[in-house]
């Protein structure tokens, strides 16, 4: 099997999949040449990620990467999330084959976009 046991587990049993009512931040990223898409929803409390939900459209690794990343980023500050690297997402699924690295790119991109959105809303409220 070309995928890790961790990746397959997340693919078969995705954590935190689905929509969120009234999120504090949402972000989408799409891998243009492939059509893979990830959308994240964040609930933020005291500047930290309290709850994560996601939807993805794409091959198995993209679903797994979104699920694994959703667990990994819970509890982090929104500022920290702004600099989330694809490598960290890839590490969360114990590696990706070369031709599936875009799964980590699209998931990291969507999470950064969601963090930016949450930060903007927060600053909008206090400013």
């Amino acid at each position: 099997m070309r995928y890790s046991a961790t990746l397959l587990d997340h693919f078969l049993n995705p954590r935190n999949a689905g929509l969120m009512r009234d999120p504090d931040g949402t972000g989408v990223d799409e891998y243009e040449s492939c059509g893979d898409l990830a959308r994240f929803f964040l609930r933020v409390r005291d500047g930290r990620v309290a709850e994560v939900r996601f939807q993805t459209y794409g091959c198995g690794p993209t679903i797994a990467a979104a699920s694994a990343a959703s667990e990994r980023v819970a509890g982090r500050t929104v500022e920290e999330l702004l600099s989330l690297k694809p490598q960290e997402v890839e590490d969360a699924v114990d590696g990706l084959p070369e031709d599936r690295k875009h799964a980590a790119d699209v998931v990291a991109g969507a999470l950064r976009a969601a963090a930016l959105d949450a930060l903007g809303r927060y600053q909008g409220e206090v400013g």
């Binding site: 995705p14 999949a17 891998y31 939807q55 993805t56 979104a66 031709d99």
Partner: protein, 385 residues
């Protein structure tokens, strides 16, 4: 691993045990070169001759009209380029849903000064003979239409197209890689001048295929060298492969009719079972004029590779209609030509059944598909494709 179910017979098939038994001596004591005049060579030659007769009998052809090649791709290339370069210039007609071996050979011929018309298909993937007729030009030198498409299984009206070609004396090539040994046909009755066929789709070995060339068809060789295959295809014959191929087609002649009925019933059991359980699923391909073992199903809004992975984890081998390779994903060009909407085309999964497939296998696949698609749809945003 618990249960394993192989539903990818249009990709390849396991070699039949009787075929393996027939081939084995030709790796050992009958190793000779068929071109050699001594006894060792004559033994090998006898094996090749028997195989050629078996293939010819199945096609309703003469043995010397059969040329063995290394694969369906070589046969298609030999057919198109052989016609083209025997004439030097002119126009071809083919379809948009041909195998890449025909499409890319045709595209290459365009770069060499030949003209090509690619006719379309209807929503079932069927070529309209009238469209072929309208595409004819005074300088048309060849028509190449496949017998059945590997992805969707739709069987083309080759008899009607063959008549058009014959009335005008235009060579007619049929890529029958997916139908040879699965459907009954006679090259004379259908008016075929060239026909590509392959071994590993019918429980024969890989690396061996053939091209039927009607006597009198003006062709040039694309591979030059020795006098093999009546100077039509140079190179020492793949004797064990040819012998195996001959046995494989003999077995198909024996089993084909029963298998046709059995697989058609199983194919319909699969489709009926899945559509009863899974919402928003469609059958891609002709409802009836279709290969007995082929069912291409499109799941709306789900990416096909994720379904293939989900089924793979249940021990089921099927193939995806779209593939994400090297960072780019294209919906199947066949489904696009049929006008299948993108959000359905991206979720296309091909199931191709074969001699090992049982009703229990089909029921297991039906039961496995529903939760996989349901879970994937829960993750995937509606309308993302």
């Amino acid at each position: 691993m618990s249960r394993r179910v192989y539903l990818d017979h249009n990709a390849s098939t396991p070699v039949h045990p009787e075929v393996v038994a027939e081939m084995l001596p030709y790796f050992g004591e009958r190793f000779g070169n068929p071109s050699s005049v001594h006894g060792f060579g004559r033994e090998a030659r006898a094996g090749v001759d028997t195989a050629r007769e078996r293939v010819a009998r199945f096609l309703g052809a003469a043995p010397d009209e059969v040329v063995f090649t290394s694969g369906g791709t070589e046969s298609d290339n030999m057919a198109l380029k052989g016609i083209a370069f025997a004439r030097g210039r002119g126009h071809f007609i083919t379809s948009k849903i041909e195998h890449h071996a025909v499409l890319r050979a045709a595209q290459w011929l365009e770069t060499q000064g030949f003209a090509v018309t690619y006719v379309g298909v209807d929503e079932h993937g069927m070529v309209d003979p009238d469209e072929v007729k309208r595409a004819l030009r005074p300088d048309t030198i060849g028509i190449s239409i496949m017998h059945a498409n590997s992805e969707i299984g739709t069987i083309q009206p080759i008899a009607a197209i063959g008549r058009l070609a014959r009335e005008r004396g235009i060579p007619f090539h049929v890529d029958a890689v997916q139908t040879f040994g699965k459907l009954e046909f006679d090259v004379d009755a259908v008016g075929i001048d060239l026909l590509s066929f392959s071994s590993h789709k019918i429980y024969g070995p890989k690396g061996i295929a053939g091209l039927y060339i009607r006597k009198g068809t003006k062709m040039v060789s694309v591979q030059h060298g020795g006098e093999h295959e009546r100077r039509r295809r140079a190179g020492t014959e793949n004797v064990p492969g040819i012998v195996g191929f001959g046995k494989a087609i003999e077995i198909r002649g024996r089993d084909m009719k029963d298998e046709h009925a059995r697989l058609t019933a199983l194919r319909d059991r699969l489709w009926d079972g899945i559509r009863a359980r899974v919402p928003e699923v469609r059958l891609n391909g002709h409802p009836t004029e279709r290969l007995p073992g082929t069912a291409n199903l499109g799941y709306r809004g789900v990416e096909s590779e994720s379904i293939v992975l989900g089924l793979d984890l249940k021990g089921i081998g099927v193939s995806a209609g779209s593939a994400c390779t090297s960072g780019s994903v294209e919906p199947s060009y066949v489904l696009v030509a049929m006008g299948v909407p993108l959000d359905w085309a991206m979720g296309a999964v091909r199931h191709s059944l074969g001699r090992s497939t049982t009703a229990e296998d089909i029921d297991y696949v039906v039961e496995s598909v529903e939760p996989i698609v349901r879970k994937l749809r829960a993750v995937m945003p509606v309308g993302a494709a």
